[in-house]
Symmetry: C2
Subunit: 207 residues, 2 copies
Amino acid sequence: MATREDEPAPVRGVERIVRAAIEVIAERGFRGAATSEIARRAGVAEGTIFRHFKTKQLLLDHILEPFVERVLAPIAFRDVHRLIDSDEPEFADFLRVFARNRLEVARENLPALRIFLQEVPLSPELRAMVFRHIGRHIVPELLAVIRKYQARGQIRDDPPETVLRILMSVVGGYIVTRLAILPEYPWNDDLELERTIRVVTRGLAPD
Amino acid sequence: MATREDEPAPVRGVERIVRAAIEVIAERGFRGAATSEIARRAGVAEGTIFRHFKTKQLLLDHILEPFVERVLAPIAFRDVHRLIDSDEPEFADFLRVFARNRLEVARENLPALRIFLQEVPLSPELRAMVFRHIGRHIVPELLAVIRKYQARGQIRDDPPETVLRILMSVVGGYIVTRLAILPEYPWNDDLELERTIRVVTRGLAPD
DNA sequence: TGTCACGGTGAGTGAGCACTCACTTCAGGA
DNA sequence: TCCTGAAGTGAGTGCTCACTCACCGTGACA
């Protein structure tokens, strides 16, 4: 008999509210998401939301803060360090691991990512938070990785910032196309990523 | 004496309202932009807005429709045709003209572009409009251009769709970095674009 | 069994919003 | 000079929304 044992236990209380909020905000935007609608979808009374979160803004913070902490920060602290430490011999290997990892993280956090991208242009605090994480940690770490492969003669001597921009554009472009623009298309991720990696690797190879 | 002769004549009426609306909506998002605030910045009474636009939504449409028509459609009808017809001998030349043109168009329409990107995930009608323009015209035209350079042996035989995705990612990535993420950085557009074009051209070159 | 704390409830409230309408101003034509 | 219609005005209206509060049910513990 098909049991539901391995599914997560029915969610209740705060977690129900947070999940419903992520749903509604992702659909309608933060301003467009009414707390009454969030309550309805969470199956709780509207007052219950405000028992747990003093204001709607704090509910948004509660959604975005762990997103920034768990999704952006790990790039700097867990994954990038792991990638640097793993020290792939070939630049192409590094790129493959990096791209797959980013695609996976984006896929797992898609609704929160949507909300995040909606709010970034509207919220200076959020932008500051991102600059703290990305600007201070991720970017320098990734630049170091690029310099390493440059020192090994696997990447041409363009400025590392330029190289990084191209890498992020291509990986980001794939993720956006894959998850947002054409999610229904029957993608073969391995094949597409290999083709993409080959183009980038050749393009960045020294003469 | 410094006159203001070459500046546009003081804007009034509908145009004032539209400009103020673009400003406020770009800052606060569509829902966050109060018509009272738009009226205040336009220097008109709130009622005046509704004399010209039956609803706030129609004001948004009035901002976005010409954006889609004038900014997206021209890629298909004016610029892409011009690019195809101009028939640059080298793929790198095509890419250069294309990237510069896109950067220019994005720069000139930055506030409207911001609003557009804010609204796309929230509005199915807008997405449909985009698919009509981009999907039916721009994408096929650009694929044809790519096939042309493939036939000339200047681009490797990866699927044109993959090539297009990579091109759009790199050009889009530069535009986003340039205009949204680090607009204050002292960019040397020619230099950055040349480096980028070189990487892409080499990456896509046949063996 | 009485008491207490805690999570939950939902009608109610005030603020802010999109939108209306009765009125004013003014340019142009008869 | 008067009439007309278009453009503009801003106080007013009703609705939606975030947020409050007095109350409820339950389980733990004396």
